[in-house]
């Protein structure tokens, strides 16, 4: 069974856009805390929570208790995507007569808890968990709390109670976004360490200063600490929590308030403020711009792939690209599923398996059971029947479905019926078969053609650029529409993998900012560009963005 990575990722992206739609329509609301918990909610909703939107009161369902109730847009958006109601209803958020109240309310079927008065949710969840135990039900309770919320003494009353009664059918998740209404948590009521000065990013990174976990451990809890924006980490933490018996479990997810929209990130102002309508199209574009870096380990030491995987993990890659070559479809031979199976225990980072092999339909199951999270097969060796079968097998196993085309291949006619169901399309920008080739420039034009077809067929997955991607051309690939970037020798061939990945990200950020400024200009001329720049008040962002606007001649 795969991670369901792309399905979750796509839903998280959609949910964030719905939060923007809802709060901007309402003219108020809490986007910051909705975004910090977006991956957590996506993972719970679309991987773990057992529910039936057609029968919200289904007796055997699991329950999601949003204790940090002010983040209701983040709950409602996921409920809409899960089928409880139409996504258009989100525009009624906070309106008179709406089921979508300012804070979660039982008025909306499927909501389990009237959250909002902070500090109550964990106690309430314990009650629900105890009731499930008394009734011998398999119900699992997922409780999402805010970090500011844990200033409330009642949270610690509940922490003791859960320990005493060994409540192990409850998973608490702390959305540790470091910001509460007034300011940074470490300024208002330190949970880790008192913050001196304004820059809390160092504390975010300095594990030696984290004390929240110790607090919960001392209350008898099983504590799992993760990066709450990494789906694979959220997934593995919830899995571990579920498997832990006899003690309650809490996942401490370090997150970024406002994550996904640069001007909202880490800015306390966006705790409880809605974006202005004029910025909505730009923000939506920004949310569609999230990008992933996937190093291809065959560019490294083939005799020690274990070490290459470790370098990718340490380098903060988003996932690991595994080029499987059979020596038939392409002249070279790399490794097969047995190697992937050996590498799998090393990390929870998604494995993006690219099958450059003949007759993939015969082998796809092996790659699923080896631990792939995404499997991409080549259009050149598939037809409508075999790809249909591959698609079904992958979906059933929660593995992302990818289709690849070689530089001289166009999307075949038969593939078009699958476009809307694809998670990933790899557009090869080198002839596959070996590492270290130069990017084929005509790929840019090919992408123009492809984008048209993809949009005509409602593609909502990710385009992966693969082949010759470097610091010099990654920005152009982004502009072409690529959102996942495979880096071979350009990443793995470098000494400092983490450093080069950071540089890749910076290049993408530059291209993204430029695209967004262009969008602002198209929508509202220099005036809107100026307003857009002014939103970016945290750190160096403003100067950097201003510089780009100058280059474009919009300032």
């Amino acid at each position: 069974m795969g991670l369901n990575y792309y399905q979750i990722k796509k839903n998280v992206r959609k949910a964030r856009k719905l939060v923007i739609k809802a709060t901007s329509s309402a003219g108020s609301g809490h986007p910051g805390g909705s975004f910090s918990m977006a991956e957590i909610m996506g993972c719970i909703f679309f991987k773990y929570l057992r529910f039936d939107p057609k029968n919200p009161q289904w007796e055997e369902r699991d329950k999601l208790i949003l204790s940090k109730g002010h983040a209701s847009p983040g709950l409602f958006s996921n409920m809409a995507l899960a089928g409880y109601f139409d996504t258009s209803e989100l525009e009624s958020l906070r309106q008179f007569g709406s089921r979508l109240q300012g804070h979660p309310d039982l008025k909306c079927p499927g909501v389990e808890f009237c959250g909002g008065s902070l500090g109550i949710g964990l106690s309430f969840s314990i009650g629900s968990a105890l009731a499930a135990r008394l009734d011998g039900k398999q119900t699992r309770i997922y409780t999402v709390m805010g970090d500011g919320e844990t200033d409330e003494g009642q949270v610690w009353e509940a922490a003791m109670t859960a320990s005493k009664y060994k409540v192990d059918n409850l998973t608490a998740i702390l959305d540790r976004n470091f910001i509460q209404q007034d300011s940074y948590t470490e300024k208002i009521m330190p949970l880790d360490d008192e913050l001196v000065g304004d820059n809390f990013s160092e504390m975010w990174r300095d594990a030696s200063r984290w004390k929240v976990g110790d607090k919960w451990r001392s209350f008898g809890w099983n504590v799992i600490e993760i990066d709450g924006h990494r789906i694979e980490q959220v997934d593995s933490a919830i899995k571990k929590a579920t498997q832990t018996k006899g003690v309650p479990s809490i996942v401490i997810a370090r997150t970024i308030k406002g994550k996904g929209v640069e001007h909202m990130e880490d800015n306390p102002k966006w705790h409880g403020q809605a974006p202005k309508k004029e910025f909505v199209p730009i923000i939506e574009m920004e949310l569609d711009s999230q990008s992933m870096i996937a190093p291809s380990i065959i560019a490294g030491d083939m005799t020690n792939l274990e070490n290459e995987v470790k370098r990718c993990v340490a380098g903060r890659a988003d996932y690991i690209h595994l080029d499987v070559m059979d020596g038939v479809f392409v002249p070279n031979k790399t490794f097969d599923h047995t190697k992937i199976k050996e590498l799998r225990p090393l990390t929870v980072i998604p494995f993006d398996t690219h099958l450059m092999i003949n007759e993939p339909v015969k082998h796809v199951r092996d790659y699923i059971s080896a631990g792939s999270d995404i499997v991409t097969v080549h259009a050149e060796v598939c037809d409508v029947a075999s790809f249909g079968e591959i698609h079904d097998i992958l979906k059933t196993n929660q593995v992302g479905v990818g289709l690849a085309i070689n530089p001289d291949t166009e999307l075949p006619e038969w593939s078009k019926q699958f476009i809307s169901k694809l998670d990933q399309i790899i557009v090869m920008s080198v002839v596959p078969g070996k590492s270290g080739q130069k990017y084929i420039e005509s790929t840019h034009e090919k992408m123009q053609r492809l984008n048209k077809i993809l949009s005509e067929h409602n593609f909502d997955g990710y385009v992966e650029a693969d082949g010759g991607v470097t610091l010099d051309n990654i920005g152009a690939c982004f502009v072409d529409g690529a959102r996942a970037f495979v880096g071979g020798s350009a990443i793995i061939g470098q000494q400092d993998v983490r450093g080069i990945i950071r540089e890749f990200r910076n290049k993408i950020a530059y291209a993204r900012r430029r695209t967004l400024i262009q969008k602002a200009f198209d929508l509202g001329g220099k005036e809107l560009v100026a307003k857009w720049i002014d939103l970016h008040i945290i750190g160096e962002k403003k100067n950097q963005i201003n510089q780009i606007a100058k280059e474009l001649g919009y300032v």
């Binding site: 009161q57 309310d105 039982l106 008025k107 389990e112 808890f113 009237c114 909002g116 008065s117 500090g119 109550i120 106690s123 309430f124 969840s125 314990i126 009650g127 629900s128 968990a129 105890l130 009731a131 499930a132 008394l134 009734d135 003494g153 009642q154 009353e157 509940a158 003791m160 109670t161 005493k164 009664y165």
Partner: protein, 325 residues
């Protein structure tokens, strides 16, 4: 049990809970380190899986009870009055009263407290809750009971276990005299007429019902004949009976072991002023706090706050004088 016999409300409450627990496996009981005192520990001995002692953590007590109720349990949560409405109004409001599943109003939690009012005595003013009626009746969806004797406690406990919804019931600490026949029925929102007479209505609740009866008996000697009603159901309140009594007697005295502001007298005045205005005199704690008093001194404490049959009789004479002729 016979009329006038002194009995303990908590004992009857605890005993009734055990009976209910036997009959209904869905009933759960929660306490906060006062389970011996509240006499709910016996429930815990008999049904250990359905009994939760959360320690000295009342906000948690109330909210855990709400979670159990939301999952279909009938939850009784008990401790002293001062620690529930007095301490947890937010959790009571937001975790129990506000959440309304489907077509219901609030969650199925019964908050049953002891040590209401100033007759707590020795523990002192810090532990004498004289604001709970005002707090609890202002929260939508809650019903509020103040029983006068153990007959009422037993029957109301049973009734709450059978009727869906959030309830608050306040008991008194000390033994109190039985005033009702064992056969007395208690209906939510219905007062009980204990004495009838044309000159004045005395509406009372809790331990003041006995005082009201004593006052009526002594006034009888003077030729003043009072109607006495036990208004154990403070919310919903029996507006019909109050209006009828106002029409029949033309004046009214209310008695409560509670601050006269926002309490039972205020609730009666709200009804009467809209339905059939007559002069009303409220007997109760005059917007000040209580203080310590050892058990044998509790009558002195009550007297200091005007909670005696003598003071009630005085109020009756005074209000009769203000009646429109």
């Amino acid at each position: 049990m016979t009329i006038g016999q002194m009995t303990d409300m908590r004992t009857i409450y605890g005993k009734t809970l055990v009976e209910i627990g036997d009959e209904n496996p869905n009933v759960v009981v929660l306490g906060a380190d006062t389970t011996d005192s509240l006499k709910i520990a016996d429930f815990g001995k008999k049904f250990p899986n359905r009994f939760f002692n959360v320690g000295i953590a009342e906000a948690n007590l109330v909210s855990v009870a709400a979670g159990l109720a939301m999952s279909g349990k009938t939850a009784f949560a008990s401790t002293y009055a001062i620690f529930l409405p007095g301490r947890c109004v937010d959790q009571i409001r937001n975790a129990i009263a506000y959440p309304s599943p489907q077509d219901k109003n609030g969650l199925n939690v019964k908050l049953v407290v002891s040590h209401g009012g100033i007759s707590v005595g020795a523990d002192g003013g810090s532990h004498q809750q004289i604001e709970d009626i005002a707090i609890m009746r202002a929260i939508p969806h809650f019903s509020v009971f103040i029983p006068a004797d153990t007959v009422a406690v037993g029957k109301l406990t049973r009734m709450m276990s059978q009727k869906y919804g959030p309830f608050y019931m306040r008991m008194t600490r000390s033994n109190s005299p039985i005033i009702h026949e064992e056969s007395q029925e208690f209906e939510i929102g219905k007062g009980i007429t204990m004495r009838d007479g044309p000159d004045c209505t005395i509406a009372a609740c809790g331990i003041t019902v006995k005082m009201a009866l004593d006052a009526a008996d002594s006034l009888k000697q003077e030729g003043i004949s009072c109607k006495v009603i036990d208004m154990f159901s403070i919310k919903p309140i029996d507006s019909e009976l109050l209006e009828k009594s106002a029409r029949e007697t033309g004046c009214m005295v209310t008695c409560e072991e509670h601050n006269i502001m926002g309490g039972f007298g205020s609730a009666v005045a709200e009804v009467i002023s809209e339905a059939y205005p007559v002069p009303i005199k409220r007997v109760g704690v005059q917007d000040r706090f209580g203080e310590s008093a050892r058990d044998h001194e509790i009558p002195l404490l009550l007297e200091k706050h005007g909670l005696t049959s003598i003071n009630i009789a005085k109020a009756v004479r005074e209000i009769i004088g203000k009646k429109k002729q």
